[in-house]
Point group: C2
Chain length 163, copies 2
DNA sequence: TGACAATATGCGTATATGCGCGCATATTAC
DNA sequence: GTAATATGCGCGCATATACGCATATTGTCA
């Protein structure tokens, strides 16, 4: 049933997603390049702008990123003064990420270029089509996919599995 | 026109793609983990199996990867004896990547796990739906998106731009 | 045949990604 | 009120990603 190595690459959902992500990321990154921001960094700043100061964990969940990934990815942003890191008030273990004035300025500048990228993208691919694609991708992110083999990590809030 | 930082993250095609790619990659990677292969490595081996020995450039194009990325990503595979690197026959600048016996064995084992991942994925997301999504993602990869600002890199084969 | 453009790669640098482990603090159970 | 457990982070390790520059060949055309 499985075998058939010939078709594997043509039907692999993961490969299709990664290839598309690489292709599109390069495009957006090139558009944002004049501001010195990558799309990942842009999305971090935008989230902070939108939701205000947040802890690493909370922001990582928002961005569908691994906690440790965000913990490192934000370092260049702090180094460049676009965000600041303060101790968590309620929980002293946590750290709050704040968008600085410089960060907001940079975000504003990048936003203009992002908008152009978005426009070009939808001119090439279709606005309706892009919207539908985003819907599917969002649904995908929300889907479970299973593999609770090792369990624990990022476990669902409730619905504990076995006794 | 652009502004509206509120909606940016909800409509960004690039962010949607990257988040979905991260989510799905983690799933497939977990499924393949028992074989010690990542999905990226799996796709490299599968391509070599399917198309036979290839140069770095050719394989990179096939996989929609950056040339330099593949150049590094393949090193662990060579180190582990899953591929071998031989000098190009016709062109001494090039290197041919070969799938070794070990590589083929590992690929076969991984293929079984990949198949399970694929099945679980489509059980959760829908087989038809997944097929449609892949079609859209492939179309996306084929689309131009413009931004030929700096030009050159990975330039289209023909249609040289300006004199 | 001798420049010269084009092509195939490598390398340095930098960010992106995520796992496992360990530490500190918080929360809950008894 | 302390022990067990859960949570928030950092770090070491390893791969993934890609840009710019440097180098080695190859192909071409005057």
């Amino acid at each position: 049933m499985p075998s058939d190595p010939a078709k594997t690459l043509q039907v692999c959902n993961c490969l299709a997603l990664r290839q598309a992500a690489r292709h599109v990321t390069q495009f957006y990154d090139q558009c944002l390049a004049p501001t010195g921001l990558r799309t990942t960094q842009f999305s971090i700043l935008a989230k902070l702008k939108r939701l205000g100061p947040m802890t690493i964990n909370a922001l990582a969940r928002e961005l569908v990123m691994d906690r440790t990934t965000l913990g490192r990815t934000m370092l260049p942003l702090e180094r460049d003064g676009l965000i600041s890191i303060e101790d968590g008030k309620a929980d002293r273990r946590s750290k709050e990420l704040h968008l600085t004035k410089e960060g907001a300025d940079r975000l504003r500048a990048a936003g203009r270029l992002w908008s152009e990228a978005q426009t070009q993208f939808e001119a090439a691919f279709g606005g309706e089509r892009a919207a539908k694609l985003r819907d599917e991708l969002r649904a995908l992110v929300s889907s479970d996919l299973g593999t609770w083999l090792d369990a624990d990590k990022n476990r669902r809030p409730s619905t504990r599995a076995a006794p």
